[in-house]
Symmetry: C2
Subunit: 145 residues, 2 copies
DNA sequence: TAAACTATTTATAACAATTATAATCTAATA
DNA sequence: TATTAGATTATAATTGTTATAAATAGTTTA
């Protein structure tokens, strides 16, 4: 599963003429295997054993490259640092306001809202962003003593 | 209309024991009258004629105070600076990817999505965030030569 | 193959939004 | 009036991210 994701991702890089360097391979591998939504710094730190001389700029640069070819999505939350999501299928996120956990969930696209917004504002709609905030089961459990 | 909004806002401050200083009065007035979604720096610059010595920290501090008592909502968009919305009624935003214009629009709350997300993830849902991205009529017009 | 060119990485400096700190000022209270 | 708490100011610090330039590695051309 993750192997085929990695293979597909490497193919995408080849097709778009982006060189596959050891650093890029490792960042992609980490994104796919982590099954989470790491920050650039988390990726940087987790790879410093393997690449002691890797620059943090390399992580940022390559995440930007991956975003540009559609391999990852960047998730921005206010002041904190961006998180990166290996782009498998369309999905939304629900975020715990207590511990910051981000969980995927699927829901059909919000076509109706997009349509109405376009109608009342005259905008040409491209896409939307939606996420839900709340308290995760772990944190809710801890609240009850 | 804006007068009553200002009056209500000042009442809210009184009720919550927040002193009404000239700076706070001016920031609130600006937020209500601007009918837009200014950044802290825009507010700061627009008031420097009236308050030549006002510190930018004062703007940030007071916007935080206003947010904490529920008078304004902070809108965060990735790397750029936060924008602030005087909190009238619940509404969503549609944003032009070309010029950055932010336009309000109304839509009933997305209760169904919240409910499903809660069901499949076990989260206790608090609220959600949704905005739509596209190209505004002005920018779409310019594209056609 | 050698030379030239291009992409990538590294190290480091710069940037920009925001926050922290400490001193000063203002207003409320005793 | 003296005391206290709250607010503002000026400035420094922080932090995530980007820019820059030199070094390295890979690719293409002669
Ligand atoms: Mn995800
Ligand atoms: Mn608004
Ligand atoms: Zn949690
Ligand atoms: Zn526009």
């Amino acid at each position: 599963m993750t192997q085929s994701h990695l293979k597909e991702a490497l193919d995408t890089l080849k097709e778009t003429g982006v060189r596959i360097t050891p650093q890029r391979h490792a960042i992609l591998e980490y994104l796919i295997n982590s099954m989470s939504h790491p920050t650039a710094d988390e990726i940087y730190k987790s790879l410093e054993g393997k690449f002691p001389n890797m620059s943090v700029a390399t992580v940022y640069n390559n995440l930007r490259v991956f975003r540009e070819v559609g391999l990852v999505k960047e998730l921005t939350y206010g002041d904190a640092s961006s998180r990166f999501d290996f782009n498998t299928s369309e999905h939304y996120h629900i975020i715990c306001e207590n511990c910051g956990k981000i969980v995927d969930f699927h829901y059909p696209g919000l076509d109706e809202v997009e349509h109405l917004a376009s109608h009342v504002t005259g905008f040409k709609v491209k896409h939307h962003r939606m996420e839900i905030y709340g308290v995760c089961p772990d944190c809710a459990g801890k609240e009850v003593h």
